[in-house]
């Protein structure tokens, strides 16, 4: 097995190492249009800043981790970058500005801290949710899932916790012997059920793009 086969891949098929190799240079043509690479570049830049801050400290040989520790850390680094965005599992209540009364209670503090949709209290990683969808798609023998893109619904202000719905865009390869409209409908149903049962999110829309057709025997 080639080394590249053992490295975690982004949804676009590139490895974190591919992105890292070009991290210091301007985004290449692929990276300019690929949201997964853009997210990985953003995360790697933050990692690089942390490394530079650490390097500015006086060197201490006793702080050098062993090879095993270093390998363990790098394994987790790759996994974290691959995990992608945190997709909210719920939106907390958001106080209306006009009715906002500062009582100093715990509830108010928690609401203020979590009102930023970019950092929800309860979330699932983009990778984990995509894997649920990929698994649902791969259960259909005539299909092979390729890229998956997820777009959570935006947060709205309101006094109650708000459920989150997700739009899914999935590209697939379909068996040549299958009816593509029927397959697409089956795929939508499987994805909606799997995400509801396993994650608890609702699916607002599933866009299916059949990018390729493969021989029926290959299914």
């Amino acid at each position: 097995m080639a080394l590249a086969d053992q490295l975690p891949q982004l949804e676009c098929g590139r490895t974190v190492e591919d992105v890292w190799a070009n991290a210091a240079a301007p985004a290449n043509q692929h990276e300019q249009h690929c949201e997964y690479c853009q997210q990985a570049r953003h995360n790697l830049r933050r990692l690089q800043q942390a490394i530079q801050a650490e390097r500015s400290l006086p060197p201490d040989p006793q702080q050098e981790p062993s090879g095993r520790v270093r390998a363990g850390i790098m394994s987790i680094v790759r996994a974290e970058i691959r995990h992608g965005r945190r997709i909210p599992l719920e939106y907390p209540p958001v106080e209306q500005p006009a009715g906002n009364t500062q009582t100093g209670s715990l509830t108010d503090a928690a609401t203020d801290d979590t009102a930023d949709a970019a950092d929800p209290e309860l979330a699932i990683t983009e990778y984990a949710l995509a894997e649920v969808i990929r698994s649902a798609a791969d259960d259909i023998i005539e299909l092979r899932a390729r890229r998956i893109r997820l777009t959570p619904s935006p947060q709205r202000s309101g006094p109650e916790a708000e459920p989150v719905s997700v739009q899914v865009a999935i590209s697939v390869s379909a068996s040549a012997s299958s009816s593509i409209p029927e397959l697409a409908e089956l795929l939508r149903e499987r994805i909606t059920v799997a995400v509801a049962e396993q994650v608890g999110l609702s699916i607002s829309r599933v866009d299916v793009a059949v990018e390729d057709v493969h021989d029926a025997w290959a299914s």
């Binding site: 006793q62 363990g72 719920e90 699932i124 649920v132």
Partner: protein
């Protein structure tokens, strides 16, 4: 349980162990997942305090997937976990959040920000007899 007059202990190790046990006992929790944040904290602890692991020190005791930080009497919690496919992740996370809040309050702390992230949904394998 400590009363209002009893300040909660400075050492978070016991609280961390208790939270770990309670979280992993919640229906639908597969396991706590190690993260970079936790790994770095653990390595830093081993390098900076090789003879004095977490016990006896306040701050950020280590369990994979669970990170506690204390600000006066308030505890912020970050948990990264895997759930099982037979339980909706959102329901599991709410139960975990409630467990954390109850445990912190019972221990005499004020729950701060509780951030929970599902990093994996594990397939459930049915066993047949």
């Amino acid at each position: 349980m400590p009363g209002p007059a009893d300040p909660p202990p400075a050492d978070l190790t016991g609280l961390n162990d208790k939270l770990t046990a309670l979280i992993t006992a919640v229906d639908g929790v597969d396991r706590l997942h190690p993260t970079l944040r936790r790994a770095v904290a653990t390595v830093a602890a081993g390098v900076l305090h090789p003879a004095a692991p977490w016990s006896g020190r306040p701050g950020r005791p280590g369990q994979p997937g669970l990170d506690l930080s204390r600000h006066d009497n308030q505890i912020d919690v970050v948990a990264d976990l895997g759930t099982t496919a037979d339980h909706p992740a959102v329901t599991v996370c709410r139960a975990v959040r409630q467990t954390i809040q109850n445990t912190l309050q019972d221990a005499g702390y004020r729950p701060g920000t509780i951030t929970i992230t599902v990093v994996n949904v594990a397939e459930t394998h049915q066993t047949t007899l």
